[in-house]
């Protein structure tokens, strides 16, 4: 299905869909920015839920060649979740951006994506 493989960092976005601890305007704006950028990325409803299921996709992401950039919450929590799923993140090559505390433009700058229009706006 893919046209080619590359070694650029993969991008993972967590929607934190099962709780309201990540500001909705931030997570909407970050998703909109990623969607506007048009570059490949992965979006998951909730990293906590995936970790509890020990979803094998987390192990695949943790092994990503070229590194991984994650937009989610506190780095300590994200690393703990991957460890819980038996998919510990490597110390090097992983960037974790915190949508609980950072503004959307800060997170998008870390992802290399432009600030998009919030997806909730129609």
């Amino acid at each position: 299905m893919s046209d080619s493989s590359d070694a650029s960092p993969r991008i993972l976005y967590c929607r934190c869909a099962y709780a309201q601890v990540v500001p909705a305007d931030v997570k909407d704006a970050v998703l909109a920015g990623l969607a506007a950028a048009g570059t490949s990325f992965e979006a998951v409803p909730d990293l906590c839920e995936m970790a509890a299921r020990r979803d094998p996709h987390l192990a695949e992401l943790a092994r990503a060649a070229g590194g991984l950039t994650i937009a989610a919450c506190w780095p300590r929590a994200v690393r703990g979740l991957f460890a819980l799923a038996d998919a510990p993140l490597p110390e090097q090559g992983v960037t974790i951006l915190n949508m609980r505390t950072d503004a959307a433009d800060t997170v998008l700058a870390g992802l290399g994506a432009p600030l998009g229009k919030a997806v909730s706006e129609r």
Binding site: M1, A17, S40, P45, R53, P56, V119
Partner: protein, 290 residues
């Protein structure tokens, strides 16, 4: 570990042979699928292969000529000209009768029958945990276990009581996080020296209550039971139990509903003894003092 089967993963393919969605439409579609509990991958022209097993639903604007994709559990859906809600319905249809967890579960009580639950459970910070097993001794719900290498692990996350962070309060190393908690450091935020001191104080508070918060609970339940026998009033006994538990709930931040749902004093004693024995065995196997 949660028994709910993996939900299908959705791949929005925009590589060769597909017309990319407009950015706003792409964003709306992602949000709609994520909020229904589906993981979504945007696979563009230079995407690494997004298929990693499991059930995959490949969607894209194929202009009426969807590509043939190999794989027994892969289906392809042409979404040309369709709304986000319409696409979600197609993905739901592709899922068929397979069960999956839903974000709506966060607004409803855990339902064991349908496997819907809010992902609330402790997450261990391996950089801080010293494997003292205090949490394993404390938890009555078998959330914690011991790995083959005698280190602490979260074994049964679904057993955890939603919104109860009590075990994180008794951790002397501030190593237990609940990522969906509203405040730090329990939510995974930075841990300061003051936090470490505060957590130790909370353990001391537990000690002041009788050395063992569950022992105190048992005492209070026994008192309430005796009063119930004397007065033969179920309402009064219940009121007494509630009043007595309030102090405990405040001391350890245990939600009232969790305390109300605790089993009988005898069952609490049995579970507490069992958990303490497991913790002691793990400490002994790791060569740590009891």
């Amino acid at each position: 570990m949660i028994a709910t089967p993996l939900p299908p993963r959705v791949v929005l393919y925009e590589g060769r042979g597909a017309v990319p969605l407009a950015p706003a439409d792409r964003g709306r579609l992602f949000a709609a699928l994520l909020d229904r509990g589906y993981a979504v991958t945007l696979a563009g022209a230079n995407a690494a292969d997004a298929t990693v097993g499991g059930t995959i639903v490949v969607i894209g604007c194929f202009g009426g000529s969807p590509p043939e994709v190999a794989g027994a559990d892969v289906s392809v859906c042409d979404i040309s000209g369709r709304s986000a809600d319409d696409v979600v319905e197609s993905v739901e249809a592709a899922r068929g009768e397979r069960r999956m967890n839903r974000p709506e579960a966060a607004r409803a009580p855990t339902d064991r029958a349908t496997d819907t639950w809010k992902p609330w459970f402790p997450v261990i910070d391996p950089a801080r945990c010293t494997n003292c097993m205090q949490c394993l001794s404390f938890c009555l719900f078998d959330v914690y276990g011991v790995s083959p290498d005698n280190t602490l692990r979260v074994e049964n996350p679904a057993n955890c009581k939603v919104n109860c962070p009590a075990c994180s309060r008794v951790c002397p190393d501030v190593a237990i996080m609940f990522p969906k908690y509203h405040a730090g450091p329990i939510d995974g935020g930075p841990v300061s020296e003051a936090d470490v001191s505060r957590e130790k104080m909370k353990v001391d508070i537990s000690a002041l209550l009788g050395g063992d918060i569950y022992a105190k609970l048992r005492e209070r339940s026994a008192d309430a039971k005796a009063r119930f026998s004397r007065e033969r009033s179920a309402d009064q006994a219940l009121a007494e139990r509630r009043r007595c538990l309030t102090k405990l709930a405040e001391a350890a931040a245990i939600p009232r509903e969790v305390l109300d749902a605790l089993p009988s004093p005898e069952e609490i004693r049995r579970r507490a003894d069992e958990a303490a024995a497991r913790a002691a065995a793990a400490r002994a196997a790791a060569g740590k003092p009891a």
